[in-house]
């Protein structure tokens, strides 16, 4: 193998080279900007993350998420293969290309364009086994990428085959990047095939070369194809920052920052910026979002919210306000972008000053004493559905457990609805008063019926030393410890995972274990982490009654697929939202347990 051209240069490399220089400068500036926007603590975390243990994990995550795309494989094998083949194949082309330059033309090491157009600049002097090996590897990688590109083109027209009902609408930047991306590899194949009789090749390029020779005998056709290949690359690289394909380089930074333990603290800059640019706008969150059933409200899904944030548009607030905050999109996101957090931060930023007045809280006395009993806090929602706490008390009595009802005379809200509306300061006042009441009661265990309160108590209340349990878990513990006995019947149930209990707090199994002691637990078409919000979520500020109705109905559709006798949930809000539209009885888990006590 030796160089064919003396200077190792031809003007056709220019489009690619300019594109590459542009994108390297762009990425460097972007990285510096993001790191500058981090505060001191976050930067310290980042430094710490360069310790071997974290670095190894980061390295592993980058391989798994950016090259192999494990997360997407989990969603759909074809979709996973499409991403894997393009990313991994392309990576191999770049890597082996560099190795070839290092081995055969070491004098061109470090020349930006050389590994990319290697086969134009070299000629094969004699065939070697090593050379054939590299050629084979290159052709194989190219074939891998081409199959991926083929799938990608097919996906544009029939996304359902690849497990996606809806995909995002493309903008101009996306289109340029997309079409040039599609063009890059077929052009590369063609270009390398044209020169395969000079530079050598393997099964793919040599065969096409033979075919081409049969039709195109004029070697002047070589250069235009190489020009085309270079232009496709150049266009792609120039369009990259203005397209969704920016996630390819940015995701690496996101993984580094995430593994350092950094979380977004503002909705647009610093870590958030790395999240926003890592969004590939794949649209998986569109299908996941409960609001988008019946093709409504697609523009309010997370992908478009992030796009609005990226453009610093003021409309992003309206999208943030609409969100149910059920976290289903975050759970589904293959990149791991916490868009709910970004929406919450957006609300907090726009909610300039708190306008509430809670002076009256000070006059509430701390007179509850629960030193020798478990404390129960019903919360606002359970006060609307008193059957839940009445049933729970019946269960506690049959297990001979002494309890104290903290908010028997009406509750002070836990503060999560206010917190989610963006008013952090006002929520703090509610937290402080509730914490004071709970602390002064001297309780060791606090039982909650409402998952909204449960999540908030666990995360924001800082009640160290007090065991905070949701009633579904508490009752299940009573059952496993033998304190209550249940009558097992033949009734069948389906369990609806409330957002805040399931995705929010990771409790999926305890309620199901409990239900299986009473009857048969049937599956819903989408359950556990895929569970659809009941539509009642307090996360949304502007969702209208009819939109909520739509969500409740589509959630019921999924729940009732296997014809259960009863729908069981563990959240007073879900209970209330479902009972209006449900065709079968809706019960809280405490109710159904108390009905089946022996």
């Amino acid at each position: 193998m030796k160089e064919r051209l003396i200077f190792g240069y031809d003007p056709f490399v220019l489009p690619f080279t300019f594109g590459m220089v542009f994108i390297i400068l762009y990425l460097l500036t972007g990285t510096v900007r993001i790191i500058l926007a981090l505060d001191n603590d976050e930067r310290k975390l980042l430094l710490k993350s360069f310790m071997p243990a974290t670095l190894f994990k980061t390295f592993k995550d980058i391989i798994a998420d950016c090259l192999i795309h494990v997360q997407i494989f989990k969603k759909n094998i074809l979709l996973g293969y499409m991403h894997f083949s393009i990313a991994f194949g392309w990576f191999m082309l770049i890597l082996v290309g560099h190795i070839e330059v290092m081995i055969y033309t070491p004098q061109r090491n470090g020349v930006l364009y050389y590994p990319v157009f290697f086969r134009y600049f070299v000629m094969e002097t004699h065939e070697t086994l090593r050379g054939s090996f590299f050629f084979f590897l290159m052709d194989l990688s190219l074939l891998l990428v081409l199959t991926g590109i083929g799938l990608a083109i097919y996906k544009r027209f029939h996304s359902r085959i690849l497990g996606m009902r809806r995909t995002t609408k493309l903008r101009l930047g996306d289109k340029i990047a997309l079409y040039s991306l599609w063009a890059i590899f077929p052009l590369r194949l063609l270009a390398e095939s044209f020169t395969a009789n000079i530079s050598g090749g393997s099964f793919l390029t040599i065969s096409i070369n033979h075919l081409l020779n049969a039709f195109v005998t004029n070697p002047d056709h070589i250069l235009p194809v190489w020009w085309g290949y270079s232009w496709a690359l150049g266009l792609f690289l120039f369009a990259l920052p203005f397209s969704r394909y920016m996630h390819i380089p940015t995701e690496i930074l996101l993984i580094v920052l995430r593994n350092a333990g950094i979380k977004s603290s503002v909705s647009r800059d610093g870590y958030a910026e790395s999240e926003i640019y890592s969004c590939s706008r794949c649209g998986i969150c569109i299908d996941a979002c409960p609001m988008t059933s019946k093709k409504r409200n697609i523009k309010f899904s997370s992908v478009y919210f992030i796009r609005l944030l990226r453009r610093r548009s003021t409309e992003s607030l309206a999208t943030a306000d609409k969100c149910l905050m059920c976290n289903k999109c975050v759970d589904a996101c293959p990149v791991g972008i916490d868009s709910t957090r970004l929406k919450l931060l957006k609300r907090q930023e726009m909610h300039v000053r708190s306008r509430t007045d809670y002076e009256y809280l000070q006059s509430i006395e701390n007179k509850i004493d629960a030193t020798d009993s478990v404390l129960y806090y019903a919360g606002c929602m359970t006060h609307l559905t008193p059957a839940i706490y009445k049933s729970l008390f019946k269960i506690l009595k049959s297990a001979n457990i002494k309890y104290t009802f903290l908010d028997i005379d009406g509750s002070i809200c836990c503060g999560r609805p206010l917190f989610m509306s963006g008013d952090k300061e006002s929520a703090k006042e509610l937290i402080n008063k509730n914490r004071e009441l709970i602390r002064s009661s001297g309780c060791k265990t606090l039982i909650l019926s409402c998952p909204i309160c449960y999540k908030f108590f666990k995360e924001e209340y800082k009640l160290d030393g007090i065991d905070i349990v949701h009633h579904s878990v508490y009752i299940n513990n009573l059952l496993t410890s033998g304190n209550i006995k249940l009558h097992k019947g033949i009734g069948s149930f389906v369990f609806h995972d409330p957002c805040e209990l399931g995705r929010g707090s990771g409790i999926y199994n305890e309620p199901r274990e409990l239900l299986s002691a009473i009857g048969i637990v049937k599956e819903a078409s989408q359950e556990k982490n895929l569970s659809i919000c009941c539509g009642g979520s307090l996360g949304s500020l502007t969702l209208s009654f009819s939109e909520r109705e739509q969500i409740a109905k589509s959630s019921l559709n999924s729940l009732l697929t296997n014809n259960p006798d009863k729908l069981i949930t563990a959240c007073p809000l879900c209970l209330k939202s479902f009972s209006t539209y449900n065709t079968i009885p809706t019960r809280d888990i405490a109710q159904i347990v108390s009905e089946n006590l022996i």
Binding site: R353, S354, R355, T356, D357, Y358, Y360, L361, S363, I364, C380, M381, H383, L384, D409, G410, S411, I412, C413, G415, P417, L418, S421, D423, L430, G536, L538, L541, T542, L543, S544, F545, S546, L573, K576, S577
Partner: protein, 109 residues
């Protein structure tokens, strides 16, 4: 004046001239369901904050429609935004959005 041991209450006459139409329009623009309220009082009856203080959404809507803004604000600023009123409202009004916007538009801070 001679003290008779009793007095007359101040006038409770409603003056529609006091209504700030601009603000009222703003409210109806962001939450059109504001006009749907039939003053049944379900919101006030179920109110968490209403257990401790005078928070009363039904009254607030009534007062705003009569141009009595100060009195209205005093009845709403204690709201904890828990959302019970949204759930019980027979007219399906998004009361939380309404409350947030009433405070935003009428309460100066």
């Amino acid at each position: 004046m001679i003290d008779f041991g009793y007095s007359l209450t101040s006038s409770s006459r409603i003056s529609l001239d006091n209504i700030n139409q601009k603000k009222l329009k703003k409210i109806t623009a962001v939450e059109p369901d504001f006009l749907k309220c039939m003053a049944c009082g379900s919101c006030a009856a179920s109110c968490s904050a209403g257990n401790f203080t005078k928070v009363n959404l039904r009254m607030v809507i009534l007062l705003l429609n009569r141009g009595m803004e100060k009195e209205a604000i005093a009845l709403i600023e204690g709201c904890m935004l828990c959302g019970k009123c949204t759930l019980v409202c027979p007219r399906g009004i998004n009361t939380r959005n309404l409350i947030i916007n009433i405070l935003k538009i009428y309460k100066e801070v």
